[in-house]
Symmetry: C2
Subunit: 354 residues, 2 copies
């Protein structure tokens, strides 16, 4: 047997290979008819009862890849895990109802830490009205791993896929971008300072509060999804968990279209700009590749946008969907066009610091 390293094709490439294998296996006519979306979107979508749409999604969070316990409390981690999971259902137009949370637990994790995790998770559950219905824990000699499965329901006529973007659609985003990554940068810097200065260390996190909150306690955009469901028609949607650039690529790939993304339109909060300046880094990179935003990225016609803009000021036009042959391009402020890079996710920078 050959042994080709996964890094040769990346996790996205691996998923394509898996999708091909799975799709090539015919199980039954009934299952094929009821499955509206298998591998390749935020959630699986199926309709095995008349007029009822259901969603199922599962996410893993690995210590050292997705989080660092030295600056993320278990309570925040519980909140974030639940939000990340239900956001995958919300971004498709559904409502999360039930969750299953499982752990691989190394020895250093105590009972109280797991209880703190659940306190954060339950806060998010209470706010977004979903219930934890199961889970199992396994002792491990490896990393701390959390797996969350979310099940949700929705209306058949209001399911939003990645693959519905149409040529000439506007591509829009909710909220502001880059703040979650900016918050992470601050926490990573303070960790380094703490290691260097030990007991003399006095962190001052107050000026960065809104960025830290965006990183530690993100909010899924239920408000905007509900506005959309009740009032307008959109053609595609995804939540920004892997960074704007990667998620724009996913919409384009699945919809078989290209895009023009305009730098000067990207909504960035002042605090995010200030943090990028402190690090002498380009804030646009934070917005494009930062990830863990849980804002919504969606495409719709000009006329539908006109209705939406009267209902909320929290949506920004980022660009326009174009023909596939024109490619996926980023138009800089000076008008220069360049291909928008895919596959760069700068959120998981934890290993470097160790």
């Amino acid at each position: 047997m050959l042994h080709t390293p996964i890094k040769n094709i990346g996790m996205a490439g691996l998923l394509d290979r898996i999708k091909n294998l799975v799709d090539s296996e015919f199980i039954s006519e009934e299952i094929n008819n009821n499955l509206l979306k298998g591998i390749s979107d935020d959630s699986a979508v199926f309709k095995n009862f008349p007029d009822r749409i259901q969603f199922l999604t599962s996410d893993s969070f690995v210590e050292g890849v997705h989080f660092d316990l030295t600056f993320t409390s278990m309570t925040h981690l519980g909140w974030k895990g639940v939000v990340a999971s239900i956001s995958d259902i919300i971004a498709m137009g559904g409502t999360a109802v039930y969750l299953i949370i499982s752990f691989c637990i190394p020895q250093k994790i105590s009972i109280e830490m797991i209880e703190e995790f659940y306190k954060g998770a339950l806060q998010a559950c209470k706010k977004y009205r979903c219930k934890i219905v199961g889970g199992n824990s396994v002792a491990t000699a490896g990393n701390f791993v959390i797996n969350i499965t979310a099940y949700g329901i929705g209306k058949a006529e209001k399911v939003f896929y990645r693959n519905g973007a149409k040529i000439n659609d506007l591509i829009c985003v909710t909220g502001h971008l880059g703040a979650s990554f900016a918050g992470l940068k601050i926490l990573q810097r303070e960790k380094k300072n703490f290691i260097k200065e030990k007991e003399n260390f006095k962190p001052n996190l107050e000026p960065y509060k809104s960025a830290l909150e965006k990183y530690l306690m993100p909010k899924p955009r239920v408000d905007i999804v509900n506005l959309i469901i009740d009032n307008i028609q959109i053609n595609s949607m995804i939540d920004i968990s892997d960074g704007l650039a990667a998620d724009v690529h996913k919409i384009c790939k699945e919809s078989n279209v290209g895009v023009e993304l305009w730098e000067h339109n990207i909504p960035i909060a002042n605090i995010t700009k200030r943090i990028a300046e402190e690090f002498s880094e380009n804030v646009i990179d934070y917005a494009l590749y930062g990830g863990e935003e849980y804002e919504l990225l969606f495409t719709l016609s000009d006329s539908e946008y006109e209705v939406l803009e009267n209902l909320t000021s929290d949506v920004t036009i980022l660009g326009r969907i174009v023909e596939n042959s024109k490619g996926i391009n980023f138009i800089r402020e000076d008008g220069e066009s360049e291909p928008l890079q895919d596959g760069i996710v700068i959120k998981g920078d934890f290993e470097k610091d160790k």
Copy 2:
């Protein structure tokens, strides 16, 4: 904050603490009414559409805890993972329909290995008619971890919980016990021999074939569940994944009853006895604590049993449910009674060999 090691209360104790936390949080009347079973059974069970019962369950499989890649091929692992997951739904009377498979992947795992895993998983999916509908992969510096979520459907009047056992019920099991663990023992011995003798090593696995098959390619007992659903009424059921003793304890704890389990009734195949003899070990321990059987353990009245015994010869009476105050006891062949030990699972013996 206190830091109490989880080993002080064990994973089962931790689950009780989690269940208390989760149950104390009221989410909504609707969710409470629709949720028939949350944490504490093989699967969560809910009824959010009229007359339709749904099941949801999630399981993690950790290298070094649940499997050893030196003697379990990726194809077998894929098969086993799917079977273990759908067995949790089958044991409650449901039919698994959709699966989500996620991985934490260390560098040593190649693309081809993941594809082999899917070949095994898809074989099981084809046989048991369920479809893989999603998944995500994360690179990890730690162990190889597989998480499988299974979703299933069933009939409202035929859901089998752990907590329905009634005093005077017979407690029965399908198939034979201990063979899966016996197969694992052989594989672990051959691994040691291989390490010692290197290229001179010639394994002879042929005499142990049926035990190895039970370990590497277990079958969920869809046949017996269907017989039960179509013909009789049972009061409680669980699949034996953690070993007969642990799973008897779960039924008794959830049903608030005691049990008398009779040693001389435990069904054990000849090959399992021979393997235990080779290791000079007690084959009864294999049957009680071995785990990974995926046979069904259930309780029912004498009259229902009479109907069942005319339909299949593959069910054995193991003992009788008694009052809670009488305890959970194991009656040895000589008539001596002793408390049946809980919490011992001997399946995950991998770390010791390293």
